[in-house]
Symmetry: D2
Subunit: 493 residues, 4 copies
Amino acid sequence: MMERDRIRVGRLPGERSREVAEFLSSMEADRWIAEADILVDIAHLLMLRRQDLVEKDTARAVMQVLLDLYDHGIPREAFDDQFEDIHAGIEAYLIGRTGEERGGRLHTGRSRNDEVATCIRIRLRNELSGLMGELILLRETLLDLAARNEATVMPGFTHLQHAQPTTLAHYLAAYEEAFARDFERFQATFGRVNRSPLGAGAFASSGLPIDREMTARLLGFTDVAGNTMDAVASRDTLLEALADACILMITVSRLCEELVLWSSPLVRFIELNDAYCSTSSIMPQKKNPDTAEIMRAKTGTVCGALAGALMIVKSLPMSYNRDLQEATPHLWRGMDACRRSVRLLNGLISTASFCKKRMEEEAGKGYSTATDLADFFVREYHLPFRTAHTIVGRAVREGSLDLDTLERVAREVASLSLVEQGLTPERIEQVLTPRSAVMARNAVGGPSPVAMRAALKERRRTHRRDDAWHQRITEALTTAEADLIVSAREMIA
Amino acid sequence: MMERDRIRVGRLPGERSREVAEFLSSMEADRWIAEADILVDIAHLLMLRRQDLVEKDTARAVMQVLLDLYDHGIPREAFDDQFEDIHAGIEAYLIGRTGEERGGRLHTGRSRNDEVATCIRIRLRNELSGLMGELILLRETLLDLAARNEATVMPGFTHLQHAQPTTLAHYLAAYEEAFARDFERFQATFGRVNRSPLGAGAFASSGLPIDREMTARLLGFTDVAGNTMDAVASRDTLLEALADACILMITVSRLCEELVLWSSPLVRFIELNDAYCSTSSIMPQKKNPDTAEIMRAKTGTVCGALAGALMIVKSLPMSYNRDLQEATPHLWRGMDACRRSVRLLNGLISTASFCKKRMEEEAGKGYSTATDLADFFVREYHLPFRTAHTIVGRAVREGSLDLDTLERVAREVASLSLVEQGLTPERIEQVLTPRSAVMARNAVGGPSPVAMRAALKERRRTHRRDDAWHQRITEALTTAEADLIVSAREMIA
Amino acid sequence: MMERDRIRVGRLPGERSREVAEFLSSMEADRWIAEADILVDIAHLLMLRRQDLVEKDTARAVMQVLLDLYDHGIPREAFDDQFEDIHAGIEAYLIGRTGEERGGRLHTGRSRNDEVATCIRIRLRNELSGLMGELILLRETLLDLAARNEATVMPGFTHLQHAQPTTLAHYLAAYEEAFARDFERFQATFGRVNRSPLGAGAFASSGLPIDREMTARLLGFTDVAGNTMDAVASRDTLLEALADACILMITVSRLCEELVLWSSPLVRFIELNDAYCSTSSIMPQKKNPDTAEIMRAKTGTVCGALAGALMIVKSLPMSYNRDLQEATPHLWRGMDACRRSVRLLNGLISTASFCKKRMEEEAGKGYSTATDLADFFVREYHLPFRTAHTIVGRAVREGSLDLDTLERVAREVASLSLVEQGLTPERIEQVLTPRSAVMARNAVGGPSPVAMRAALKERRRTHRRDDAWHQRITEALTTAEADLIVSAREMIA
Amino acid sequence: MMERDRIRVGRLPGERSREVAEFLSSMEADRWIAEADILVDIAHLLMLRRQDLVEKDTARAVMQVLLDLYDHGIPREAFDDQFEDIHAGIEAYLIGRTGEERGGRLHTGRSRNDEVATCIRIRLRNELSGLMGELILLRETLLDLAARNEATVMPGFTHLQHAQPTTLAHYLAAYEEAFARDFERFQATFGRVNRSPLGAGAFASSGLPIDREMTARLLGFTDVAGNTMDAVASRDTLLEALADACILMITVSRLCEELVLWSSPLVRFIELNDAYCSTSSIMPQKKNPDTAEIMRAKTGTVCGALAGALMIVKSLPMSYNRDLQEATPHLWRGMDACRRSVRLLNGLISTASFCKKRMEEEAGKGYSTATDLADFFVREYHLPFRTAHTIVGRAVREGSLDLDTLERVAREVASLSLVEQGLTPERIEQVLTPRSAVMARNAVGGPSPVAMRAALKERRRTHRRDDAWHQRITEALTTAEADLIVSAREMIA
């Protein structure tokens, strides 16, 4: 049998309307942290017992119920939004099962303020870890595809105009490098998130001899979140996780924009797998890149979540204010949209077919090797760069890069003869070939296959390092939870 | 028996993973428009029949199912997120009930693009109307309270410093006037929303002889949304509704900030009703203004929804892109938070007790009638305003507005004697009394009871006008729906 | 000789560091309102004189200086950021010229709170009027171009995939209709902005017998902004103007996205005029659509301005807080970016060349008339729409819409013969021609030349009405200013 | 004599209107990077010479001008907004001074895309370093104040209600700990920013044998920004810096909210120094916390800058688009507002007086030690926490925590006698004293002086470590610049 909301009983006996209760309740978002709350309860109870703040029998009785909840899930009744939050719901359930004399002791030495802050961090570090796992996979896909496309020539664009030829490998590796920085950001955020607020109480810790370091260790945190007022009142790590997600999504949106563009019949650089597309209810010929579009749009959703959360936390005086509750759903919505997008983006890219013939065909268009011709004049004939640029630019405007045009323009613009320097139609053609243009771009980080191979080797190394780190922290979290449950079972054994 | 998603059958037979299906599906948000979709189906079918685009028997069979859905609700199976959206879910249900030969004809001459745009507008105009209704009530509460507090003197603040005395009526009426502008904005938005996109098809209308004006009329729209490309591709009215909601919420947040402040033991200007407060899980003495805090926080939620929606729609080329689907949930989240906040704010204010004694007590503090003394010097002794301001300011800094201080300062600052002008301690005291200061502020819109009474009369008139308008449009929508259903029943009679 | 900041003299004699002064000063943004401030001073002085709150000689002396400022501009020294704002700067200048005994009287019966609010509204209504003028011109350009392109067939896209053929007229008119709604929004905002806060004082009006209605009239406002607390503390009309601008810019960004896309060598639907393009410092062949890109980006700037302003105003208690000062620069930045974008967009579009041949060439691609074939089966052979859609979709997937494929698919999918219904290769070809597809789309708002002509006629009427309204309000503002100056000159005559 | 914009000469000879030129020009924001551009030019030229890509005489001639610019500043004419940007302005100046034959060679092997990206990073790392320096100082102030206030008892608030007593040290240290996390974030961002894009060209590096690692080293970067497409097209590090700034400002806004509140006559916990306050133009008694208000408002400005920048970068395809130019001013505006706020916040806090008497006076109010009484019942009488909470809560509601009330309530609620457990009026009074309540809160991070002293020792250690790191990187940047200039002077020696 469930108890009614215990917390209000003493102080505010007046009935609250269903409408107000719903408005104030965080139940919907609390589904995200309900399981974490059981872990927090278990760790707190182990600590209370060790500090002799609850008696043995009480501890065993309550722990039995907590382990039941852990093993079989939290019953629906605890999620009723007559409760302000899941913490109240679970407490009422515990009291219903064990009586107030016992269940009522679990909240000893803590407050919902530190409890909820701890639950959010437990779930958030899992979300971060899961997201980093997806990023590892996406980066691997990009590196694998790049390795297979070092010689796939394609046009590079600036302003959506054909600019210079590059390779598909160069293009894909650009995104991998950006996503690696996203990984770094999430790594650092993880480190700041993974500290325990538990024991901070309402904000001033407790007058009882609680042991914050013990609960931190039991819950797999690397440390306590020090100052207890900061521990319950700050939400900067939450905002930081959302900001990381926004920045990642911006890059996702850019890649998706290109997938939409490239799969358009106007471009045809890529064929997306049917599984990620939809058709039209009225135009049977359509194959729409819906998954890429929705991901692109999710960028707005995640940035909107950050905007909302920032605005909510702004100007709140110390320490806890109920406003903070409203910030959390933005966190979950943002992290979820981000994680799912990264996961599906990996699927979308790894199953797509690249139309290499179309890419190469376009690579030579639009005078996109004109820069190479200007570079050639600089390199071989020692023209000032600006002069070479002016000659080639004028010839482009006149519609041709043949020898006659170039020669005439060179004479007019700079009073010099390119023919006398040794320019021939054959040399022009050779220089203007996209493939040879790409070959020449050998600087560190450039697109030539030689430079690319070196870069990919380096990127693989970074990827392996990140992957190893990620496995380590994932295992640490898993082990900590397993150990916690072992300790709990030992108590009731 | 339910059919699988009919729309994909011909063009994209490859199976889609559950994960992709969920990612692309708008089902969760479509609960908002499911009922509107039935109305749209009914109106569209009446039109198809009138234009002889479906045969009588087919129309009757399909209409029978639609009326069942209208009368008894849409079954759970239609909301399965194997369907991309509720439109596909309902179509599959119709085909399951009537066969493809019949059910398959309902989508004749339309597209999901115009269908969804129409459903959004139907639901949105209801949301707008509902919200305007709440605003009418809130404004009434504020006007009633103001009328009862024309003589309730309180301190007015600038920079959270006591500035000048005013009245509670003046204060409450300031908010009412702001909310009246919100009402105006929603009114105008309602007018732009209330136009029918139906018949716009994918964006180029249809090659079949459909009648857009007929469906617009049947659905209670005041007109068709003209250009069919604009009708399906634009979302500016959606953004506008969200922007109106943000601006309203900013004012709500300001009022809530004051409710939080005023109910603090530091201030004690107001006692909120228990029904809108909560206590602490650990601090039994607390009575927290949670409802006001959550409302204040909802401002961030609504503004985040606008930020997200703007970002999603930005830079989308014509005409429809799947990104638009992702904008809609932001609309519903924003409108819902706004409407509920306005409703509860009305409850919160109308049940609160104002501590008039505390207000009056504070009204005289902090030299808050110093301006009035300066005004008095200007009015009675014809000092330049800046000189009067300097004399009073200097005296305040010296800690006293008694005759000796003022006289000495006046001599130093301006080489003049106030005593010679006739200043006495009695006159000073009289001028500095908050109540007399308020009485003197007689300009249009000012706080004196005389000015206030005139203002409230004017505000009541505006309120009545708005209320009447709102009743008119609410009735028009109700009547249109009733008429539509009558026509539908006649068809199958 | 300039005076130091007079306002601080009495109360806070401590020196403020240059750094703090700069941080607090609004001087940079005040350049936007400096001229308005002179008008406000003049109107206020006329009123003070009429109410006998200043003597004749004083009024004449001060008015003389004000008219000098009006005629010859405000001297640089008044903009020194030792002054908190331009109001302090101008007051110091006045006192320097006329002495404190006279110049110090101008601030009688007002506060910087109402003064600045009035200046903002004066400048904002000018900005709104200017922006609306640009919108009128842009809409005219779009309507003119549409009128010349009723028969220019082009592909319509959804999801950036060829969807159905339409016309350039239909496409351009879609944007015009969206911009007309923007105009409506600005119109309504103008009405709410054009009300006078002057005389509201710090928030409680004044104890002196000022006449708010007189100054409102003198300054060309349609009314006073009623409640004096609301008049100084609210910024919703400012937020509203920014929100209108954001919504407009979203539409601008969509059009610019298409201009970028269409001018890409990948698409070639449009050739932008050189005057709006740039080239590359390194790639001489480039012709980049920079103006369209910058406009697209300005959308972010304007939306960022709204986001900033909303966040600033959120949760500010009544009445004035210095935070409000920080909101204003966002307003000017947003309005300016918006107005310049609309103006240049008009130039960009009106000087561009449309490549009609390329448009028509693409119109027939990608099975974009497949819907018309399905419609044809519905219209002529009475197939259910969903069946027709399935047959055509399957045939598209098999790569052909020839008679053999359609017939085979129809038998498999629906066990029916299209040949028996009378389908021939000639009929198929005729139906699939883009031009004939467009001709059939005759619904209200559709792309057929007949429907388009009717729509354009209607749009012209709306445009003329808006243009006339705009001229009326522009003239009213001009006239009011002229009359004000005449009254001022009469005073000193 | 200045040259006109050299970059357009060849390709786009058509004149551009002043209006378009202004719209496209980034000159205003380029003031931020003009000095960095000279450094980039010098490093690039040293590299070109070393790689024999320019001849000795040319290099010397150009270097001479560059050093002039470095030594004497960039002349006004280079900032004319006829130039698209400062890079074009400086190039034109160089060509004017040395002739195209020489000056025109400086752009060899680079593009404005990599040039501007490099300049932004140079300036941004300086901004980050400067901001981190301010943070170090602010944290020091907070730690110093905390150390002096370990025993200053004050009320801690939740929901702006008196909750539990704490100390001023605890409160100030909470903010220091939050700001330390901000420091960490900026540190990591600095690491990602401090990598050189130079040599990435337009995005595909160059066909000439340039040496990216050399220029990176010369400019004090720790590494090259690898992939050249990523190096010019990504802006995530810029977004990250802004996001860090937003998160920091949120904390600043919270502290400022409290400064405003605490300095209100309603609270009087703090007296701000006159130098950071202003008075009213009309209310001479006012002393307004304007600096705190403006800082609070700057939070909106910084968050608006992030919102704008995110929206601008969203969905841009690779590689460079002109939109990116519009993102940069948001960066500078945001970083500047943040840095100045932190700096002034330090001044504001370090010069404020805390009213310890008022704090202690309030600490005992509002039953704020009621939790401690409940804790006492748990600790001493072994009551379940929830029961103790209920008893105390009920007694609070009845208005008294005297022995009679508590005893009666305990009997009713839990059928137990507190008197029998040994409760006396003296024990109650002792427990309820704020000071003794604080003393008992000994958990790690809690407010008791013992816990606080340990925490502050730890915080000092962290602060010293951060300070040392900051000095190291500051020196590294200074040294790198000095070395670069030495190399440059050697070339022309």
